[in-house]
Amino acid sequence: MAVLELTNISKHFGAIQAVNDVSLSIEPGQVVGLMGDNGAGKSTLVKMIAGNFRPSHGAMQMDGKELILHKPVEARQHGIEIVHQDLALCNNLTAAANVYLGRELRKGVGPFRILDYAAMYKRAGQIFAELKSETRPRDLVKQMSGGQRQAVAIARTMLSQAKIVLMDEPTAAISVRQVAEVLNLIRHLRDQGIAVVLISHRMPDVFTVADRVIVMRRGRKVADKTIALSSPEEVTGLITGAIEQV
């Protein structure tokens, strides 16, 4: 069964039709590349799934149940996690503190509860090990490489039982070696049965790691096919409009 299913979703801002009648479904453990030029509607689509916007029309279903989100926190409660484009990290805090930001572990009774540093370091370390990332929980984020910073942002999504992870341009501003690291992190998420939606401009990344590619142009879904049956040339044509629809 699909973990997330969108049916005839539309979103308009006044007269501007940002997303127009898009339907798609995402299976568990599947990596879906979401591609499109600037203004194609991919961010708007993702923001609806993340609970930032409400769709103007259409319905979303999660595990077969109706999904209505009023704010981002609710998306997280439903197991939808987002890795933001700027990663949303605090440089002055440790890796573990960033992973647990907003949902710190505490110990103690009643109002006398203190931060449980040991537990947070331990669990963060376990997650980094699962991600096969050489990231130390006690290090400050400001001293980290781009790949390690990605690992910290992705580790956040693994704290709770995430079902679907939305990644916004995770490879946009990092070095070639670190891109490989991030793609590995995505594979590790997939191997745990988590669905990943990878929003990217970079054709090679999508074709390396994704199982499926969805192309959007001017608010419409113009392609949705298995990666093996497509090609970078075809996708480029779809993005620019040289190929109308497949």
Binding site: A88, L89, C90, N92, L115, G125, D139
Partner: protein, 332 residues
Amino acid sequence: MAATLDQTIAQKQHTLLSRVFASQTFWVVIAVILACLFLSFATDAFATSKNLYNITRNVTFVAIVALGMTFVIITGGIDLSVGSVLCLSSMVLAITMHAGYSIEVGILASIATALAIGAFNGILIAYLGFPPFVVTLGMLSIARSLAMVASNNTVVFQFGPDHDKLLSLGGGAWLFGIANPVLYTIVLALITGFILRWTKFGRHIFAIGGNEHAATLTGVPVRQIKVAVYMISALSAGIAGIIETGWLGAVTTNIGTGMELQVIAATVIGGANLAGGVGTAFGAIVGAALIEVIRNSLGLLGINAFWQGVFIGGAILLAVLFDRIRNFRRSD
């Protein structure tokens, strides 16, 4: 492979010692100790119990407010109104007690005034998006003016039926001959240190100073916390005002004038970063101590008091210079 990965993850990059040596606060502590040692040998008057009693007590008013200011500065804000809030709180206390109310009522009214002002500052900053500098600059003017209106710009030195209680609260020495204000400072510093290190609230304060946008995205209640830190800052000014009133035995509308600059200087010397994200309770205390030792020593060494500003200003620049040098090295 897995074993080495686990080892890497478990590794600590810094030992406790290397962290201590890398902190600005540590070097300021060394400076304070060296200055004290030098003064003990160079002058007869420094190492007397009377002088030490004076120094420790004088430190406290700036130190207590610096503790509150530390919260604000860690979030990347600034509170210029603390000197005036101290004055207004003192005046509210004095007038309430002068009117015949008990010390409890006086303190309650004074604290409530401080909290109300802090909440006002915080709401303008957090919910209406005013720059902290502008809001608290406005409040600097408003609060002192209100104190003048409330007292008709007179000196209040009679505090009604609980007059003696108030004086012993601020001027006494209830424990081992240590001045009361020093005891309060120690307690407040411990509470501040605890909050910053061990509570979720403290962690969120650092997160806001580090990256406010990230804090918002990860579900930190940024606005509520910002209001809270300005209330804490005003509260610390209120507490300092109450204690200072008890110590001085009189309140004028000049009390706390220019104090905001000393307080900010103390936190910065102690290692807080005005850009946000960095600061400690211990640093605030040590910074306040360094300023007081400089002031005291100039007097004892017979140097013209007009030079005070130069030395304190120099200390600020020197403390921050150390920080810059360390950062240059790191970025190389």
